[in-house]
Symmetry: C2
Amino acid sequence: MNTTKRTEISSLGEFGLIERLTKELSTSNKETIKGAGDDAAILQFNENEEVLVTTDLLMEGIHFDLTYFPLRHLGYKAVVANISDIYAMNGTPKQITVSLALSRKFCIEDVEELYAGMKLACQQYGVDIVGGDTSSSLTGLAISITAIGTAPKGTTVKRNGAKETDLICVTGNLGAAYMGLQLLEREKIATAGKDIQPDFQGKEYILERQLKPEARKEVIEKLREENIKPTSMIDISDGLSSELMHICKQSGVGCRIYEERIPIDYQTAIMAEELNLNVITCALNGGEDFELLFTVPIADHEKVASMKDVRVIGHIASDNMGLALITRDGVEMELKAQGWTPQSEQA
Amino acid sequence: MNTTKRTEISSLGEFGLIERLTKELSTSNKETIKGAGDDAAILQFNENEEVLVTTDLLMEGIHFDLTYFPLRHLGYKAVVANISDIYAMNGTPKQITVSLALSRKFCIEDVEELYAGMKLACQQYGVDIVGGDTSSSLTGLAISITAIGTAPKGTTVKRNGAKETDLICVTGNLGAAYMGLQLLEREKIATAGKDIQPDFQGKEYILERQLKPEARKEVIEKLREENIKPTSMIDISDGLSSELMHICKQSGVGCRIYEERIPIDYQTAIMAEELNLNVITCALNGGEDFELLFTVPIADHEKVASMKDVRVIGHIASDNMGLALITRDGVEMELKAQGWTPQSEQA
């Protein structure tokens, strides 16, 4: 540990820390096309194709709670979260590697459950598990997955290509995974130590969005069919606001999105009301939806407007306009993003 | 958690668990040449080149102890351990991704120290850091690194190609990193709570082998220059015995190695004596040396015998001969390997 000067990570936040760590990273190999700073790195090993690499590390107690998260679902979700980053580059996921660190509370059957979920996701998305590593952990489970994908040369989509007047599109609907999480957390507290089962009737959809999310493979395929190449793209894992900020910052632009255009499922809205939460705030900041956020030239308006599961929610503006949400009553509000801050050490 | 049937992981051990998890993994993409079961997976995205991918997950308290392990060294070592797996496939490491999970005890300066070590190793070996991820952890530090490398098509070396009468070679010397660890552990206990500094004079080499190991880049280059393609290769991260067992098992052969041929440094021997340990056992089972173990056809004997930092320690035998160490007094002993078993949950 450094004992001379100590700056708390919370003073920079997640994005500030990553920026600080990666800002001076230079790359020297000709095969490295794009390093840190997007959903995936872009490598090139031949003339016709680019290779995409992305990685995630999931920690028990931070990213998942095994009290209510079945291991099979966790395995499925861990894979989906990773390959979603490959789709977000407009690529096709091909392989993953899996590293696990396991504490003593896990038995072989547990690990097999976790693997069963990972295998199912791999089957679903045509991905091969090509390697990995298992080792011990003093506390709980850690899962690290690296996904590798490919895209024909020149077809990858980064975060930095959004242009003024581009349309901002999202797939599916937002906030559902977050609402599923709130529901699970509420029932965990309500049923703790009691011999009762939580009642999830009428809430199946938000639970599924939290426990068994899917990546937007078919939208990527549809965009290709329609000959649309987004000018920028990212997957929504940290919330719409946060992802929009990444796109705007890296593209050097501002944006306007409209509250009334933000897609929200009925169950998400009902649950927000039950919990006395503002549903728009949940849709803007709730993470783990794994929907795609992308921008297209205004000329593609008709094509995207008629695409299944795609909604135009606003447009890119000039940098000096900032990032704004226009509410239903026409008020302009500045968008704010959230990242993580470090958790307390466990006692 | 599975509550019906529970089989402890220790009943299978690390290698048994990995085998069980990966035995039914089929691969479906044409780009996947070799999946789980070697130092790295082999992918192919063009006709002329193969792409190698390997990953490792390091957990605080299991793989490293920050009481005596400086963060800068830890960063360096974490990178070296990974790219060593690429060299062990006869490849050239090109890129890494880095994921970190950090608990509250870490400040920004700590993370910068860790990164400084990783950057130094990358510079040393010509590798680019192309991405990663940082997040929170409830307890301590987790580091996950994925390394990507390349090799001209047909030049990768796997674990499964060793043939009867092939010579078994190792680079450098063995057991030094383990002895460095024993020394650090001893001094940790001896100086705990006291205002004294440990005295490491005359033990610099074994400390360096533990705290700042190197990967055997130059041996790989030399083998290429000499036009030697090993029939099998692996890096020694879990100990010579264990790695030899991987090669023999996957190649369907046995082996004979000779105690008197096992390379051991003077400081390793002295330290073993001080600690009343059998130095050969330490050389056979001590991990983290990151030396290369490889086999070559007997026709290459003269070439390898004259190579700097390479020692012929025995030969491959038929499967039914088993794996044996021939002691200095001619006694044949069966080789045994160690893997990890899960640790106790922290209180």
